[in-house]
């Protein structure tokens, strides 16, 4: 009873704080492993079994979705983990007839993947990845000045297509008026009033997705070419409208 109460407190703390959530997942890693083992009928290998990752995100989901009215947290988490693992196994079933690249090819100690011609350039790929990482780390650092983390943005991200389009519209307006981006950088405040007036998007929509807008606008300030390249779709969608 008392133990359960402590967990509930931890879970409620983890809802607010990302670090606390990570710590909680670390603390309950044996539990997550146990639930995964129940599903796999064998102990999961960390860093190898996707199921363990699925179980971990299910646990994370449980932290977000838990409320005191839903009963004991661990039972709820166990249920969620089991459901997500079942979902995952069903999803993966369509690949069941596909041969794994890791399957041995011939008598030698090489896998099927090794026999394929490698079209990708691993060196270039690594350098691109490093550049991307540098960009992302810079973005994360800049966002921290605004008191926003990427996890927050992910939680704050619009889920409806309509809302997403509205946010894009506001972004488009800001792109056309670069002084707004300067205002953002200088004041560390989102110029919601100007965005609303200029783009015609409802103020409430922008206020609700303030963190998301900050991230999006920051990406369209200087730098972040790689991320912007990845986001080519965003502007395409608005242009088509």
């Amino acid at each position: 009873m008392n133990e359960e109460h402590k967990i509930v407190q931890h879970v409620y703390a983890a809802k607010e704080d990302i670090q606390a959530a990570d710590r909680l997942i670390g603390t309950y890693m044996p539990f997550i492993k146990m639930e995964t083992a129940k599903f796999l009928k064998r102990p999961p290998i960390e860093g190898h079994d996707d199921e363990l990752s699925i179980a971990m995100i299910a646990f994370h989901e449980a932290i977000g979705g838990y409320s005191r009215t839903r009963g004991a947290f661990l039972k709820y988490a166990a249920m969620l983990i089991r459901n997500r693992l079942i979902d995952y196994s069903r999803r993966e079933q369509r690949h069941s007839r596909v041969i794994s690249l890791d399957a041995p090819a011939g008598e030698d100690d090489i896998t099927l993947g090794d026999t394929l011609a490698d079209e990708r350039d691993p060196y270039e790929e690594t350098s691109v990845r490093d550049a991307t990482r540098a960009e992302i780390e810079e973005l994360t650092r800049q966002m921290q000045e605004f008191g926003v983390s990427l996890s927050d943005v992910a939680d704050n991200c619009p889920k409806q297509q309509r809302t997403l389009d509205a946010c894009r519209k506001a972004l488009q307006y800001a792109k056309e008026n670069p002084e707004l981006l300067d205002v953002l950088l200088q004041t560390k405040k989102l110029p919601i009033g100007q965005l609303t007036a200029g783009s015609g998007v409802e103020r409430k929509t922008l206020e609700r997705h303030r963190k998301y807008m900050v991230a999006l606008l920051l990406i369209y300030t200087n730098g972040y070419e790689i991320i912007r390249g990845h986001l080519k779709q965003v502007m395409k969608g608005v242009a088509a409208r």
Partner: protein, 319 residues
């Protein structure tokens, strides 16, 4: 759709899709900056909207359940629950339980013949008049009821008006039903106080074969102002008093214990209801005393007071 890995946590990774959405997904050994194609996205936590939908739907369900319960209850009250009963007595006795609408909900034979009469008959859900008609047909078929027979309906209803209504309805409808086939005597009795219902009209068919003068009470129209059949004092000994009974449901409340005055002269008795309050003990006209009047028992003049074959109770005229 490709996703850019933005942030990695032990439990999850933050991905950015091509449309500008930031998403949480299972961290399948991702690294920041990696581009992935088939992530396992985290499902949305239940939104508040879902709750309102659930609230609304559960509310609607609750209201619907309430209505069902209410309607079910009123339906039961109206159609299923026995509200009144009619005891049909020919010789077979049958109890019919009726609901508020006058429809039969249960039929029970209360004696053996009644059970025989009901064998293989299902009257549930039919109107009481239909059931009564069909039961009478069956009774005729089985030989329980023949011409000149007698059918008694004992109505057990919670209020008087219903009794009157049912009684009238049964009488008229049954008469109509049997009209021209056989003639029977119909009797409507209140089950609770044994009072028979007044007959608003003659139950006999117009051929008047049944209006026998020997049964004036049961078939002739009664004066409508009395709820009991009027007592017609027998004027001649030829009239039978079969129906003028003081017992059972036909009790008219008037006892006919005192025989008609014309049959025998009143007796001068000092006992019972005939006592005239005059005792004859001290009139001196005794045969036991020393002051016995000279006329002895040797020549019994019938004035002894013992044998009263011609004793008119007035001894004084002998003195």
């Amino acid at each position: 759709m490709s996703y850019l890995v933005m942030e990695c946590h032990p439990g999850y990774a933050v991905l950015l899709d091509e449309e500008g959405r930031f998403l949480k997904a299972a961290n399948l050994r991702y690294e920041i900056g990696q581009t992935v194609y088939d992530p396992v996205l985290m499902k949305d936590t239940p939104e508040k909207q879902r709750h309102t939908i659930r609230w609304i739907s559960s509310g609607i369900a609750a209201i619907a359940a309430c209505f069902l319960l209410l309607f079910g209850f009123s339906y039961y009250q109206n159609y299923m629950r026995p509200y009144s009963s009619i005891y049909l007595t020919i010789n077979p006795e049958v109890r019919m339980d009726l609901n508020r609408q006058g429809t039969v909900v249960e039929l029970t034979g209360t004696n053996e013949d009644g059970e025989t009469l009901l064998e293989g008959y299902d009257g549930k859900g039919k109107d009481k008049v239909t059931v009564v008609d069909e039961l009478l047909d069956r009774a005729i078929e089985m030989g329980f009821l023949s011409d000149g027979g007698r059918v008694s309906f004992s109505v057990d209803s919670p209020d008087e008006t219903l009794f009157q209504e049912y009684g009238t309805e049964l009488r008229t409808k049954v008469t109509e039903h049997l009209d021209g086939r056989i003639t029977i005597t119909i009797e409507i009795v209140d089950y609770k106080n044994g009072q028979s219902q007044e007959e608003p009209e003659s139950s006999s068919s117009p051929n008047s074969s049944q209006t026998d003068t020997s049964q004036p009470e049961s078939v002739s129209p009664s004066p409508p102002e009395s709820s009991q059949p009027a007592v017609i004092p027998p004027t001649s000994s030829s009239t039978t008093d079969y129906n003028d009974t003081d017992y059972g449901p036909n009790n008219d409340g008037v006892t006919d214990y005192t025989p008609p005055a014309s049959s025998t002269p009143p007796v001068d008795t000092d006992y019972g209801s005939g006592s005239d309050g005059v005792t004859d003990y001290t009139d001196g006209n005794t045969d036991y005393d020393p002051s016995n009047d000279s006329d002895d028992d040797s020549d019994n003049d019938g004035d002894s007071g013992y044998d009263g074959d011609d004793n008119d109770g007035d001894d004084a005229d002998d003195d």
